[in-house]
Amino acid sequence: MASSAVSSPFTVLWLQAASCGGCTMSTLAADDVGLVKALERLGIQLLWHPSLSEESGTDAIAILDDVATGRVALDCLCIEGAVLDGPDGSGRFQILSGTGRAMKDWIAALAPRARFVAAIGSCAAYGGIPSAGLNPTDARGLQYSGWDPGGALGKGFHSAEGLPVINISGCAPHPGWVVETLAALALDDFGPDCLDALGRPRAIADHLAHHGCSRNEFYEFKASAARPSDRGCLMENLGCRATQAPGDCNVRRWNGYGSCTDGGYTCIACTNPGFESPGGPFQETAKVAGIPVGLPVDMPKAWFVALAALSKSATPQRVRSNAHSDHVLVPPARRAPKLP
């Protein structure tokens, strides 16, 4: 690691396609020091970044031209935001300013030059929010449109190192996901076996957002929140998809202290393709005959129903009461431990 930092840094070019800028904003808090320093510590240098670099206008275009023509070698191209194909395949919904050229064409020219291509956030990975509803701009991800392989670069795209697009999904992704994935690439410590079936780094996607959720006791007893700010489990009524959503969201902390479920609100499975169109309201659980349609991943329905019924009947009064309050009404019983 130290030697790579000294010899030649691993270079990153970061562009914003149809993004909200939120992935960049998230990474500005990386490791409590900011993206530049967090990357620099691991031997990574930003060749250009829209929020962080001095170069503007013609100076910035010169950098992009140098990479597109191969004059300057690039280790990783990071794209934040969906790729807009519309209107009518022209890409005119996003012209890279000062160039008269559609962003989708810039991406097509730059991607083959990079050793690795990373999609930063769910928009670049799968299309994300801009592709919701009727998808008015024909938004898509770099290598997926929702669940369908393809996307802007095509199903068969592999970057110079032979990897498909690395999908650091999330809306927005945790800054650690971005920094740690780029670091693994820079350290040559990342191969095809490090990706899940949807191109996501397994270091993140092998977890579920549910792992480590601080509402675990309420989940175990199916003591469910009924309205926003209740302390109970958010799965039964308020639409929480943490038991189905890939991500180590509750194993690490967001902005020092938080996570979605710790913040009192539902997981919307923002690391998954198609999260933007859940088929019903985000904050309501779709049910058939009183049973949630989306069950914990890998859980047989019959067992879920049986265990839920059993655990509901076993719910302590303390847990039941606290589930419907925004603060603890009944503390755990205070008893001296039984000694053998």
Binding site: G22, A29, E54, P130, G258, F282
Partner: protein, 481 residues
């Protein structure tokens, strides 16, 4: 210099989102400017037909830097539609979350977006350049290196109060989903204390209260001159601003407006006199003459968003909002001027409108006013009392939700039919500030502020144009959405 030449300036980095500015230059100065927002994503179309509360998920994702402001605007509109009111804790916590975003954005603008231009090689001959390079250089300057960590740790408030930033669902029409307990309340105060220390050590080299109390340009510069020119980044900025005459650069329109914020900054419209007029939302229209949009000028409750990419005479995806037909400037400067802050008012009076100097100063004065207020609100939170009331009925109604984002007034005009969104129009701060020409040929606030900006021979991306553009702290992703 001979006849006018045209420059197309872009990509315009260190602004949020996509921006292209076309300028005509003659005799070493800008004679006309056209501002283009070259990205269209279609949020107002995407929101149609969704369940009303889905706005709480989708609207914040318009913008990663004004995410909370978008949430608050949507929540306020939905609260009015469903007739719910947040309990006092819910209001305080939501104010804390919004103030955290406003304050973080003001700091981000100063350390990452605006000041790196002062370290450019074109200023190598100025006596302050070595200090500017050391403090402000992009990626390497000590200012960002010391204050970015402070900003990241300040955003721990978001972790505590909102789960994460950006894109939280903690803000709801009835309050917030996260109740703060007694220990968390103390942590809020500890985080604020740490941020205050960082601002007072590096940015201001003085107490926040001293900065907030600066009451005239004379007092401002006397304060700056009372210590070494680089004692604190604000002083260094003032020293450079005086040398480069930022007080005479980028003069905006004479009318400034704010919808008021936190009960701390009063609302209104200011036209240069002593009195503050009401900010009358009934007078708001959006004109599409220069936008790649079909339709006519209309009030946002009647407005539609229908792209027309090949429309003659259009040059931006941005519509042109007007207040009673006139152009207004919004932002921290407008908030402070409307609120009656004497320094902000005098700076604007002296130049007949906002200037690069006034905009940057107002942002930092506002930052210095916000942190002590946040300390008060945190102390006022009452753990074990409610933070949220339940959702109300969503039937058929229309309402506007207004909020002061860091960059100025943000409005959501929302219509709900049988619980589903049937109309959604958004006017963001930079839609006001960076609008294109309207049907009567009246340029937007930035377009007129750029006229007269000096351009040096051979400059392809004129540095003074960059100062003017960035002084507004534009957020282009909000602008068109």
């Amino acid at each position: 210099m001979t006849g006018p030449t045209r420059l197309i300036v872009g990509p315009f980095n260190r602004v949020e989102g996509d921006l292209e500015v076309t300028i005509d230059v003659a005799d070493g100065a800008v004679t006309a400017a056209r501002v283009n927002a070259p990205l269209y994503r279609g949020f107002e179309q995407i929101l149609l037909g969704r369940a009303a509360h889905d706005a709480m998920v989708i609207a914040p994702r318009i913008c990663g830097i004004c995410s909370v402001s978008q949430s608050v605007a949507a929540a306020r509109a939905l609260a009015r539609i469903s007739g719910v009111e947040a309990p006092p804790n819910g209001r305080l916590a939501a104010d804390l979350v919004l103030a955290t975003e406003n304050a973080a954005d003001h700091l981000t603008h100063f350390i990452l977006f605006f000041t790196p231009d002062l370290a450019r090689a074109c200023y190598a001959g100025r006596p302050w350049h070595a200090a500017a390079r050391r403090r402000f250089a992009a990626q390497e300057g000590e200012c960002a290196r010391s204050l970015l960590p402070a900003r990241a740790r300040f955003l721990h408030l978001m972790g505590l109060l909102a789960g994460k930033w950006p894109h939280s669902l903690a803000l709801q029409p009835g309050g917030v989903t996260k109740a703060i307990d007694g220990g968390e309340k103390m942590r809020l105060l500890a985080i604020l204390a740490e941020f205050r220390e960082a601002l007072e050590a590096h940015l201001f080299a003085d107490r926040l209260e001293r900065i907030a109390a600066l009451s005239s340009p004379e007092e401002l510069f006397a304060w700056a001159d009372a210590a070494a020119f680089d004692a604190g980044d604000f002083r260094l900025f003032l020293h450079i601003a005086r040398d480069l005459d930022f007080g005479g650069l980028g003069i905006g329109p004479p009318a400034l407006a704010s919808s008021g914020s936190f009960g701390l900054f009063g609302p209104g419209l200011w036209r240069g006199g002593g009195e503050v007029l009401p900010f009358d939302l009934a007078q708001v229209t959006e004109d599409v003459a220069s936008a790649w949009m079909a339709g006519d000028t209309s009030h946002p409750f009647a407005g539609l968003t229908r792209p027309q990419p090949d429309k003659d005479g259009a040059y931006s995806w941005c519509k042109a909002p007007r207040l009673g037909g006139t152009v207004i400037e919004v932002g921290a400067l407008a908030r402070q001027v409307v609120d009656g802050h004497p320094l902000a008012r005098t700076l604007v009076r002296n130049s007949g409108g906002g200037s690069v100097l006034a905009r940057v100063v107002a942002r930092l004065v506002e930052l210095a006013r916000l942190i002590p207020a946040m300390e008060d609100w945190s102390r006022t939170l009452r753990p074990r009392e409610p933070f949220c009331t339940g959702p109300g009925p969503m039937e058929t109604a229309a309402a506007a939700g207004l909020v002061e984002a860091a960059r100025g007034t943000l409005g959501h005009w929302l219509t709900v039919t049988d619980g589903y969104i049937s109309g959604y129009q958004i006017i963001a701060p930079t839609t006001w500030n960076f609008s294109p020409r309207d049907g009567s040929g009246q340029p937007g606030a930035l377009e007129s502020a750029l006229v007269g900006t000096p351009v040096q021979p051979g400059e392809a991306t004129p540095v003074a144009v960059q100062h003017v553009v960035r002084s507004f702290d534009p957020c282009m992703v909000c602008t068109v959405h």
